[in-house]
Symmetry: C2
């Protein structure tokens, strides 16, 4: 989705005194789905992963793992879990980042300690560590000129990924990145105004007028009007609720994710 | 925990060809718990939040909110939920970042659409959006010289935070940051070697020898040996399993988090 010039101006005003290199990188970031036929040097990838590991982590335990998929067979095995989106097989590197209490529990077992991390809180702690690590990696990699597509499908079909990557008990995939050198430069996508998601002191319930103000720009974008039209819907919100993220799919995937969490030992009730 | 010079050399080797500004920032990052008596300009804070919102988000829905706490009363209300850690009342700004499907659902309701986001998958989708946004904010803010302490306690006592911040249905706190200008420079903390968390193609089960290799540096740090000693434990792992993150506490907090998720409408089974 194309960003309106006015929004870019607002951002520029906000960030005029900020350090520039990373700000330019984040201001220009877009999801990249098409990659050049060029590999990612493993020194570069390893360096970025090692740097990303400087991110804060719970008790400094680093409750995550990254599985690096470069082989055609590995990508083909992951593709169905991501609804065969072409980035999975076309990117030089696919990273699956996992919440991991397995390694820490193995450490404990090797050290006469009895781990107790087969529960929901521990899953959320490890998932948090994994996602913070993931985003620092994204920021660093995009700063290096790499292009990334974040696949939200990871938690829709976790069991298929668990099987493909042979993830043991207490390891659970939470994010997938396809990474490569960009071969496209799509337009910047729009964003909601700051006051739609920033609240002063307490949460302020949005009024219908607020909702109009927050969403008017998004709703008026030509590509979104086009979406509404080709889907025979009355409003853009209906495209989300009735087609893209439906109650039925959400509820089915909730069952899948809970079942996979149970299989991986995180819900030992 | 002090980082060994050898580890810094390994990192420098890995990242020698990378862009420098943000890398220097992430290489030097440490958790900051003591802040100068100096406010954070709201233009700076707003600019950083607006930039952080360039982070990728599910369906470009931005499924998060940030509550900004600057008032002494607001900080005092949050402090007990964070076990009265002094950073909460001493930092100029406390940010509570929430998974938020409320605003999106309100939008749908105002647009003749029927939202179906009162389920586990939708919570995880929104929590993911919120945590990715949080980490870009951390990277940008630290790049500006601000110091941050990430409070993992947020999901231990979510209901107290929900009450203090008046969070409506389908809003759930997932991260808290205390933010200010640093008034300390603690040593860098150690990290595990890259091959402890990076796996090639499939997950490789660590052997006891691997575990020794991954954890030997951490276990030999003087401050960790001291922890073991003052706690009358035999191993560092026992400090984690028996004192810092115990089964009993994890299971009690799992109940709290599930109960709060139910109260906020995310587990409408």
């Amino acid at each position: 989705m194309m960003m309106h010039i006015s929004s870019i101006f607002v951002l520029s005003h906000h960030q005029s005194n900020l350090n520039t290199l990373m700000n330019t990188s984040i201001l220009n970031r877009r999801t990249i789905r098409k990659y050049a036929q060029r590999d990612i040097d493993s020194n570069l990838l390893n360096g970025l992963l090692a740097l990303a590991a400087r991110t804060q982590t719970m008790g400094n335990l680093q409750l995550y793992s990254v599985v690096v998929t470069r082989s055609a067979e590995g990508k083909a095995a992951l593709a169905p879990a991501h609804f065969n989106q072409p980035m999975v097989t076309e990117a030089p590197v696919v990273l699956t980042i996992c919440a991991d209490f397995h390694r820490t529990s193995r450490w404990a077992e090797c050290r006469k300690a009895v781990p107790g991390y087969d529960n929901m809180l521990s899953f959320l702690n490890a998932a948090t560590d994994a996602l913070l690590f993931t985003q620092t990696f994204c920021n660093l990699a995009e700063n290096e000129g790499l292009g990334i597509c974040y696949l939200g499908t990871t938690i829709y079909n976790p069991q298929a990924i668990i099987d493909a990557l042979q993830l043991p008990r207490l390891v659970f995939p939470v994010a997938t990145l396809t990474v490569g050198w960009p071969d496209e430069q799509p337009p910047l996508s729009d964003r909601l105004p700051l006051d739609s998601f920033m609240h002063d002191e307490v949460y302020h319930e949005p009024t219908p007028d607020d909702i109009d103000r927050f969403y008017v720009q998004k709703e008026q974008l030509p590509e979104n009007r086009h979406f509404v039209e080709i889907n025979n819907k009355e409003t853009l919100a209906q495209v989300f609720t009735d087609i893209r993220y439906t109650r039925d799919a959400n509820e089915a995937c909730s069952e899948s994710v809970l079942s996979a969490l149970r299989n991986q030992g995180f819900l030992n009730e």
